[in-house]
Amino acid sequence: MKTAATLRSLFMRELRLVWRGGHLMPVLAFVFICVTLMPFGIGPELALLQRLAPGLIWVIMLMAVLLSLDRLFQADFEDGSLDQLFLLPVALEWAVIAKIAAHFAGIILPVLITLPVAGLLLNIHPESVLPVMATMLTGAPALVMLGGIGAALAVAVRRAALLTVLIVTPLYVPVIVFGAGALSTALSVPGTLDVTALGVLALISTATVFLAPPAIAAALRAGLR
């Protein structure tokens, strides 16, 4: 019971920090700016944008996650509150899950809602917005969990953003492959979902939710000891 209370207060603390820190608006702005830039690079042809949308959406999602994860542990490391996580009466793995869950609820979830809507600018059919959201929601936990490993490994490194990108990107390949695959079949017929690819995505996400927290905790211990 006490564990649950501790984790809940940790979760609420993180959520408050996200809101007060004003971290959300820049990430959402980033998403819209990326979507806006694409037609400048590719050309305004709607049919082409629609064809490229699955990949573009996943890459934008990936970059938004990476940009936001950069500060996940580092801000706490700098002000010393990361050390307090080690002293909590709960396992570090649980504390990590609570922190990431708060990050997911506070930043990633708004991105997940915004990005498919922004996708309308890439000529996604309006009926596809919800399927896109569902697909992104299935894959996003894997992105966040794997990104957490990179953020934890680079916790003691100053200006770790590029290092995190370098470490994490190879881990993202399977998510992007199945995620973009699921999106392109879903988008080809508005209002439908690619259940098979969604299943694989869910499998990857579930696996990372179980396997990443121990790795993240180990990485934090390695970085701080």
Binding site: L153, L166, P170, L171, V177
Partner: protein, 243 residues
């Protein structure tokens, strides 16, 4: 008891013994590596031209062993890290760190020779074939691993963090291979498949195996030299701090 064990095998508890062993191995290992490499190249020079590929078939004798070593070096890093973490033996970290750039270079050699071979044979430097793509991802895994080593100043922290990354990467590589296979077969059937593999003729097989052995010895020799250099560098730093 546990503390004593940790102290016993703490970082550089026995670098002197390693350095003695390394000094004795260093010269013979390099000589064997160069001899086998020389012999292999001599055999490759005697290989007849392929009836389809002509002389370009000789690229294979660099390309294929380099690709083998790209995978071997990463497994080496993984097992060295396991050894270091489980047995708390600092030599494991040293070996893993020393091997990483060597493996990365072998991966790069495999990619570049592949492009050079692909250009005349397939008519293109690069295709998004599953095999090529997963080797490219492996190259990025190497780069991330090396960058993490360089980014963390404290040796002990860097050693533990990179070991965790080595584990994660080791799990990741087969998953990448699987997903990329799936991706490629989903989006397009292999339009440029690798030339069908009939059992390699003995004229080609033996030089290839000798070259593979040569690359293995070169890898071991370079890695050993890099380990020695690293120990010396650490000693130098300690001296400088003392002075």
């Amino acid at each position: 008891m546990l503390e004593r064990l940790e102290n016993l095998s703490a970082l550089y508890a026995n670098p002197r013994r390693f350095m003695r062993l390394a000094a004795r191995l260093h010269m013979p290992l390099w000589l064997v590596a160069l001899a086998v490499l020389g012999g292999g190249l001599f055999m490759v020079a005697g290989v007849p031209d392929d009836y389809q590929q002509g002389a370009t078939v000789r690229i294979m004798f660099v390309h294929v062993p380099a690709a083998w070593m790209a995978l071997f070096a990463y497994s080496f890093i993984f097992f060295a890290s396991v050894l270091a973490m489980v047995l708390r033996h600092p030599l494991g970290y040293l070996a893993a760190r020393a091997a990483a750039p060597v493996g990365a270079v072998f991966t790069l050699i495999a990619l570049v020779t592949g492009a050079l071979w692909g250009q005349p044979m397939w008519g293109t430097w690069w295709v998004w074939d599953a095999r090529l793509t997963s080797v490219l991802v492996l190259f990025f895994v190497y780069l991330g691993y090396i960058a993490l080593w360089e980014a963390i100043d404290d040796y002990g922290r860097a050693a533990r963090a990179t070991s965790i990354l080595a584990f994660v990467g080791f799990v990741n590589v087969p998953i990448v291979k699987f997903s990329v296979d799936w991706w490629n077969t989903l989006h397009q059937p292999a339009s440029v498949s690798r030339f069908g593999r009939p059992a390699l003729h003995a004229d080609f097989l033996y030089p290839l195996l000798v070259m593979g052995l040569a690359f293995l010895f070169v890898f071991l020799a370079v890695t050993l030299t890099r380990m020695q250099t690293e120990v010396l560098r650490q000693r130098l730093r300690v001296r400088q701090e003392e002075a």
